[in-house]
Structures are given as C-alpha cells and as structure tokens.
C-alpha cells in the first residue's frame, strides 16, 4: 500500500517526492520526538509513551488502518482509517459501506498557525485522495466520510473531490461538520 506522492516544499517552492506508507512504530516515535514538543507548550512529561512502546502492534483492531507520510526520513503526517464499521449517512447511499477518516493530522511544522512559512504543503490533501483510492480498492466506489475540525472546513470544501457538506453532526461531541463523498455510480 506504499506509494510515492508529491508535496510542496514551501521555502524553495519545490515539488518533492515523499512516501505514503503503512504506519510503523518508528513514525509514532517520530511523533514522540518531534511533534509533541511542538504541540505541548508546557513540555509536561507524559509517561504514556512507555506504554505506547510496549503495545503489541498486532493487537491493533481489525478494520482500522494507519498510514504515515514521510519525507527526509521524518514523519510529515498521520492518518487513521476505519474501513469496516462506519456506514454512509447520506440518504441516497444510506448505510452503504464507506472509508471513514478517523484521524488526519499534519506535522506541526507544516501548520502555518505554528510555523510560518510552513515546511510542506499537500499532506492533508494527499491523505484524502488516498482515502478515496482506498475506498475504490475496497469496492466502496470512492465513498468516504469525515468530520472536519472547525478550522479545516474550508479545506474540505475546496478539495475538488465532490465531498458533500452535511452540516454539524449533532451526534458528534464537538458538533463537527460532517462531509461525505458520494459513490462513483452516483456521480
């Protein structure tokens, strides 16, 4: 499932080739070493990582897939997909299977709110395109669902992948806006 993808290296305005590949412990260790210090101001010592290291990856839930984007040996983004439990909510494809994006995040240095200019652009979009491809591979005809974080709504509106904006989801604790992509037979 590994593939080569393109990212924009912002500083030099260069298009570079990165790898999108299944998540390994190394990616999570990367996040531990590089992401968390950026994300936690206080630098509180979280001991959860000991537990994280000990986890046996084979115990990961069937039906959940994890991926990372890597460039220069560094993790640039993390993605978790639920490929079996979630069902479509849009009426025309109600309860049909879809790939649901459980979590998608880009590295802190790729977020302008944390670093200006950011290092790379394209991580979120490449992950979304990948989720759609994964849905096709699974026979779900490109049906994808996700709950966008408030700041990212405009991003999903503008992705040009025909995501339908279904409005805030009252069943979601933070009332996040739900997006769903119609299956290709409905295009």
């Amino acid at each position: 499932l590994a593939r080569t993808i393109s990212l924009l290296q912002v500083q030099d305005q260069l298009i570079v080739e990165a790898q999108l590949l299944p998540l390994s412990d190394r990616h999570l260790e990367d996040a531990e070493a590089f992401w968390v210090p950026w994300l936690t101001r206080s630098g509180e010592a979280d001991e959860y990582w000991d537990w994280v290291r000990k986890r046996n990856r084979s115990s990961l839930l069937r039906g959940t897939e994890f991926y990372a984007i890597e460039y220069g040996g560094v993790t640039q983004g993390l993605l978790a997909l639920d490929i079996s439990k979630k069902r479509c909510l849009i009426e025309s494809q109600f309860r049909q299977r879809l790939v649901y994006i459980l979590a998608l995040a880009t590295a802190p240095w790729n977020r302008p709110i944390i670093q200006t200019p950011p290092m790379f652009k394209g991580v979120g979009g490449q992950f979304t395109d990948f989720a759609i491809d994964r849905s096709r591979e699974l026979g779900y005809k490109g049906r994808v669902g996700l709950h966008a974080l408030p700041g990212a709504i405009e991003f999903y509106r503008k992705l040009r992948v025909r995501l339908i904006e279904c409005g805030p989801d009252p069943d979601e604790p933070d009332n996040l806006v739900y997006f769903e992509r119609l299956g290709e037979t409905n295009d």
Binding site: S6, A31, W35, D46, A80, I101, L102, G125, A148
Partner: protein
Amino acid sequence: MTNVPYDSAWSPEHQRLMELVEAEDASNGEVGCGRNWGSRLPVYLQTCHINVEDTAFRELLREHLGHRLMEVDFDRIVRLVRTFIEPIVVNAHIQGTLIAVQPIPTEPLIEEIPNEELQQRFKADLGEVCSQAELEQIVTFTHYVIHEVLLKSSLDLMLTVQQ
C-alpha cells in the same frame, strides 16, 4: 499564500498537488479531521482499537431492543457509545491534562438493558483499562443514549401515524 509559477510540463500529479495546496491555503493550512486530539493524537492512534466490540454490543442491543428499534438506531447507539469511550481510554494512558469526557445527564432512567448485562459487556472489552467508576459512567451514558434513541423512534412513529 502559495505562488508557484505554472509549468506546462507539470504531470497530472503535480497539477493535482497545486489544487491541494490551493485548498490548504483556503483554510490557512488547517486540514485536520476526526476529534482534535492535539498532542494526544499518537496515544489515540495507539489506543483506538480499545473499545466496546461492535458485533457483541450490537447483538446485546438487538436482544433487548430488537422489537422496538431498527439497525439504523443500533448504528447510532453504537457510534455514540464508542465515541464516548474514546477519551476515557486515552485518559487511561496518559498523565497530566486529561481529555474532556462528555457530561452525562443525572436524571434516573429506565434500564432497557439490565445494568449487569451492560456492565458485563463493557468489562469484557474495557476491564483492563477502565476503572469500575468509568465502567459505570459508560453504562449510565448507554442508558441515556438508548433512552434518547427510543424517544426519537417513538416520535417518528407518531408523526408517521399522524400523516
């Protein structure tokens, strides 16, 4: 804003990348989806497999509520309960600032499924990571969700009859 000069030699992949960058610029680089786990994201990724087992939980719901609710209602109950459990599991694996857990209404509710059966179900799947108090919280929340879904279902039925 990104300003890469267009190059006619760009492959379709590169053109697509420029579209992705444009979308990213529109949200000032915010692309996240799913819950906002912040620095706890790696913990969530490592623990999201710990939750109530879908099939067995659904079976329990069917057994007690199959005559009153439909699969779509069970979808909703399962989804809400699993979402409720996620931060509890994450919190069980961290120290320091905990993730907020949804508040639970305090009014007493009818046990559509006996407490013991729900306890048993959740203990089987979550007993290793959740305390007794947390398991009870999950049971209470489940009663609440079932109550809400039953209310909605009755309301929908009434509206259908009226029409």
